[in-house]
């Protein structure tokens, strides 16, 4: 069973529907026991880092999520769910986050010609062939995925995919064993996004 963690950080319908499209059994939950006993954990989220951390605390899920992320069980962070795996976010004047991945989350600088939030399909360059992450099959490299964000995670030792926006090259995807996390939305990135979810389901 795959647990999709519901911590009041945005809409989970798309994530649920994407797994349903792949025929995977996935349940939305905020029950600590259900998360602890899940085979796979999806940690989505949109919105602000500070309120996300507050919600996790209020629901008694902070340690549950941190433990799940380092447990070795397949874990997938998406968007804000990736960002708060890092150590710290500049959002809302600065907030300590889960610290599972080393590095910081910062706001895009004001650069003429670059709107914030970044909304739309941007290219992801998959690197570090040392990781076993294979780029999605495509005749067009690098492939595009759908992003919606105002903050970005710095590049860290676990970064396996990078993207560029507003003059910044940032982490589009990290991979640390069975912990995968992406800034973009695989559930909204068409066929390539589904391919990525399918691969995660078999890791």
């Amino acid at each position: 069973m795959t647990a999709i963690i519901d911590y009041k950080a945005g809409n989970l319908t798309s994530v649920k529907l994407a797994f349903a499209a792949l025929g995977a059994e996935a349940a939305v939950t905020r029950d600590p026991e259900a998360i602890r006993s899940a085979d796979r954990i999806v940690f989505p989220g949109v919105g602000a880092a500070k309120s996300a951390m507050e919600n996790l605390r209020a629901l008694g899920l902070t340690d549950v999520v941190r433990e799940a992320a380092v447990s070795g069980r397949p874990f997938l962070g998406i968007c804000l769910g990736m960002q708060i795996l890092f150590e710290r976010s500049e959002e809302d004047g600065g907030v300590e986050t889960l610290g599972v991945i080393p590095g910081r989350v910062r706001r895009f600088p004001d650069v003429p010609g670059f709107k914030v939030p970044e909304i739309g399909w941007n290219q992801v360059s998959f690197q570090l062939p040392a990781t076993n992450h294979q780029p999605p099959a495509t005749n067009h490299q690098p492939p595009e995925f759908y992003f919606v964000h105002s903050y970005y995670a710095e590049i860290c030792p676990y970064t396996c995919g990078t993207t560029e926006y507003a003059g910044v090259e940032f982490t589009a995807m990290v991979k640390k064993g069975n912990l995968w996390a992406c800034q973009f939305h695989p559930e909204k990135s068409g066929r390539l996004g589904l391919d990525l979810l399918r691969r995660w389901l078999s890791c």
């Binding site: 945005g10 809409n11 319908t13 798309s14 529907l17 994407a18 349903a20 499209a21 949109v46 919105g47 602000a48 004001d110 010609g113 709107k115 914030v116 939030p117 970044e118 909304i119 739309g120 399909w121 941007n122 290219q123 495509t138 005749n139 067009h140 492939p143 595009e144 759908y146 992003f147 919606v148 560029e164 926006y165 939305h185 559930e187 909204k188 990135s189 068409g190 066929r191 390539l192 996004g193 589904l194």
Partner: protein, 258 residues
Amino acid sequence: MLTKRVIPCLDVRKGRVTKGVKFKNNIDLGDPVEMAVAYSDGGADELVFYDITASAERRPIDIGMVESVAKAIRIPFAVGGGISSVADMERVILAGAEKISVNSLAVRNPQVIAEGAKAFGAQCVVLGMDPVKSDNPKCPSGYEITTRGFREFTGMDAVEWAKRAADLGAGEIVVNSVDADGTRAGFELTITRLIAEAVGVPVVASGGAGKPEHLVTVFREAGADAAIVAGMIHTGDCTIERIKREMSAAGVPTRMSW
């Protein structure tokens, strides 16, 4: 590089996609879910649905349609029409749409933008606006906001309204030129550029797309981040793939693999 988005717009009336000129003379084009799948498979970067009769009929948006679309496609889509409260927004989002587009409602009650952004995040709240060329002295930009499908003039300056909406928390602004809507003679570049330069959030050009080169022009010359297409693809005169090939050939970044 972030690519420029091509967004088919589907106007839905009584459960069917329709297309009219200047909001009139509607003709039936097909089933919304079937069309959504076809456009998604055909390379659309995003979709937008307007339940165009919901407001006039004073009924909520067709949630069943939103749910069916969300099940059928794996690309983002926005929904507008018949949204009259934050509770309506929530129903649309829980049904699986990424974004809600508010237009007349935001003019009547601008705070709904702030409330929606606070509840769901700015990225979920799209301000749709229908500006028209105007010599109203209250509108120094030369463009006035209309509502209710061009039926009402508001006396609001289009550029000032865009700035205010972005300040209130709109994550994106769709500039639908009433003058260009349905003409297929090209986007209204001036108002698109004025707004793209005035706000820090992405701007979606709408109204007037008739040929691929119209999209190339609005991206290159008006600073649009995305462009809406309707009649030119609904009639089969053109395809999204052809639009994108021309964009790519002209050096406009576009997603070519789907």
